[in-house]
């Protein structure tokens, strides 16, 4: 007796959304089982991970703060993944955007530079991320180097660059030798949307990215070109679509959005440069993009759901002494479940008994 996969001819969008829900529940059950294996109560963990953040207004704001970089990065990645291009170096592009944007913040620190600082910082963040994302794109289009490995290797280089800057030239001389820069001036700090709130303008950027991407992917020739390049590269070539230009474009877009996420996080949330400015947003965003079915609205929802695991993970560390690594393990299992659930959508599973249809 064994199972067989039969390709489906039509797939409804509802089935696709449902597959994500099924995947999420499966991942939750697996995580609960692991927690039970560790000798802890899965019910208590569920309470801390999910119910408490959702019932606490402060935690709800925190949810939007944590979701902001995830939305921005995952929206960018959806351009790449739709075209079957594997940019897995968003973490590095995020860091480089933060570095270039922060350069201006530190350069203008202590001067009475006006309101132009903040927009320029965001712009520099986009440019930094986009340029860094263009390195693997250029190597791929010009020399045919596989983008998976180059984009990933550049993550390590970016992290080391940030580490060097935070411990070396950008360290606050009056900071008691802590490896961190001065705190950004108010002129270089992304303000909260509502007064005394926690959610900064980065969340607004994320919503704009979702809206613009919905239009681009659904209503423009460029969006159609992406889909065609990914699904049928030969057909795309015959149609006269320049695939090299497409590669450069999607890497620039995803790098730029990751860079914006980086500078928005540093400017709106952290407020200074540190050796580490991300709990792995760039990698988690890959899970978010797939959980959201590479669809802008789907990504928005998926990012909010996954952000919950970050907040839950932090409080579980304090309240239940569950290590933060559990969150990462959960995110990995979640991505595996999402990809496996794709099979339920794309194929019908048929049970074949021995001696049956061969």
């Amino acid at each position: 007796m064994r199972f067989e996969l039969m390709p489906r001819t039509t797939v409804s969008p509802v089935a696709r959304a449902l597959a994500s829900v099924v995947a999420f529940i499966t991942a939750f059950l697996i995580a609960g089982f692991v927690i039970w294996l560790m000798g802890r109560s899965p019910v208590a963990a569920f309470d801390v991970y999910v119910l408490q953040p959702l019932s606490d207004p402060w935690a709800l704001q925190e949810l939007l703060v944590k979701a902001t970089p995830l939305i921005l990065i995952a929206i960018g990645l959806s351009y790449c993944f739709r075209a079957s291009l594997w940019n897995i170096g968003a973490e590095g592009q995020y860091v480089m955007g933060a570095v270039l944007g922060s350069w201006l913040a530190l350069k203008t620190h202590g001067t009475d530079a006006g309101i132009w600082v903040l927009p320029l910082m965001m712009l520099l963040g986009i440019i930094g991320g986009a340029l860094y994302g263009l390195i693997p794109a250029f190597l791929k289009t010009r020399f045919g180097v596989n983008e998976i490995l180059t984009s990933l290797m550049l993550v390590y280089v970016a992290q080391l660059t940030l580490d060097y800057l935070a411990r070396g030239p950008w360290r606050d001389p009056k900071g008691f030798n802590f490896p961190q820069s001065v705190t950004f001036d108010p002129a270089a700090t992304l303000p909260p949307i509502m007064e005394a709130g926690r959610v900064h303008y980065g969340f607004l950027f994320a919503l704009v990215a979702v809206a613009v991407t919905s239009v681009i992917l659904g209503r423009t020739l460029f969006g159609y070109r992406l889909k065609l390049t990914g699904d049928a590269p030969r057909a795309a070539r015959f149609a006269g679509f320049n695939s090299k230009a497409t590669v450069m474009a999607v890497f620039a877009i995803s790098g730029g959005l990751a860079g914006l996420a980086g500078i928005a996080e540093v400017s709106g949330q952290i407020g200074q440069i540190q050796p580490s400015i991300s709990p792995g947003y760039g990698f988690t965003a890959i899970t978010v993009a797939f959980l959201g079915r590479l669809n802008p609205i789907g990504i928005l929802i998926a990012a909010l759901v996954v952000a919950l695991t970050f907040i839950g993970g932090e409080s579980a560390q304090i309240l239940l002494k569950l290590p933060l690594d559990l969150t990462q393990a959960f995110q990995g299992i979640l991505l595996l479940c999402v990809l496996a659930a794709d099979a339920l959508v794309s194929y019908r599973i048929r049970l074949v008994t021995r001696g049956g249809a061969k």
Binding site: W86, L139, N146, Y156, L160, D325, L336
Partner: protein, 305 residues
């Protein structure tokens, strides 16, 4: 022992985990499956082997635990990419994220513990050869195993019927299936072998190379192993050379940090990663597209009927 000899000795130690992990991945990829989860499987191999070695005070059990952990991780990957025909790039990434997280959970209670060095095994007569004798014939068992594995895999792939089957499945799974070759079964075994090798490489890192465990200790070695397979054009012999070039780069970089050339340590730490990109670039410039890549690499197989 001279300083030069000591440096060369550490190059062997640094290269061995890269070689072992890359050999496993090479077999997996030759069967047409791209498993990007090497880093995660290696991390699990390191954490589980160290946990077992400390708990039972046995290096042997530690190594066994590492291999089993790597194989189990790869079995999970196989379930998703073979059973559900899921996207291999995404699934491999997920495996890496999962493995790095889970290894952190498993290793957490063992942070700070140390293991004694694994005694080297002296090959009589051969170890007396000047210069290279002590370098290659007074090593731990893993080093000999990695050399043996290189030869065995090269012979298996190129000289045996079963190896030919594996390669033809990797070249074109549709034709192989039409010929009646068991595509999914061979791929499953190839994935398991790759996982076991990654686990062994992780065990080597934790039990021989560092002799302690810390989170994220694999530090991208799994990814470098993946790059090595491309660099070696999917040939075991070239893999051996590539692994030693990268091992040397890693070690020299460490010595350069100790010597304090006035360069920031981060610049030198970036050397292995930049070197990987440069190596891939040079290879592509010389040969155009990646040469030697199995035809069906990375594409899911669903029997057509």
């Amino acid at each position: 022992m001279t300083i030069l000899e000591a440096i060369l000795l550490t190059i062997v130690t640094a290269s061995t985990p890269l070689l072992i992990a890359a050999l496993g991945e090479l077999v997996t990829e030759r069967s047409g499956v791209l498993n990007l989860g090497v880093e995660g499987m290696m991390a699990m191999g390191a954490a589980c082997s160290f946990a077992a070695a400390v708990t039972f005070d046995s290096t042997l059990l530690g190594v066994a635990a590492g291999i089993v952990a790597g194989a189990l991780m790869s079995a999970l990957f196989a379930l998703v990419v073979l059973g559900f025909a899921a996207n291999q790039v995404g699934s491999g990434l997920a495996l890496t994220i999962f493995g790095l997280g889970l290894s952190g959970l498993i290793g957490a209670p063992f942070v700070g513990a140390r293991r004694d060095p694994v005694p080297p095994i002296d090959v009589p007569i051969l170890s007396d050869i000047p210069y290279i004798g002590r370098l290659f014939f007074e090593q731990d068992l893993f080093v000999y195993a990695s050399f043996a594995l290189t030869i065995i895999i090269a012979v298996y792939l190129m000289r045996t019927r079963s190896g030919l089957t594996l390669r033809s499945i990797g070249e074109n799974h549709t034709s192989a299936n039409a010929l009646g070759l068991p595509v999914l079964k061979v791929r499953f075994l190839a994935i398991l072998f790759g996982g076991a090798c990654a686990g062994l490489a992780g065990a080597y890192l934790a039990l021989v190379y560092t002799r302690f465990w810390s989170p994220g200790m694999t530090a991208g070695r799994g990814w470098i192993a993946l790059a090595l397979v491309v660099f070696a054009a999917w040939r075991p012999g070239w893999l051996l050379i590539g692994a030693y070039i990268f091992g040397a780069a890693t070690v020299l970089q460490l010595h350069a940090q100790a010597a304090q050339f006035g360069l920031p340590s981060q610049v030198l730490s970036a050397v292995p990663y930049v070197a990987t990109i440069v190596a891939l670039l040079l290879l592509s410039i010389r040969h155009g597209r990646a040469i030697g890549a199995p035809g069906s690499l990375g594409s899911p197989f669903v029997p057509d009927r």
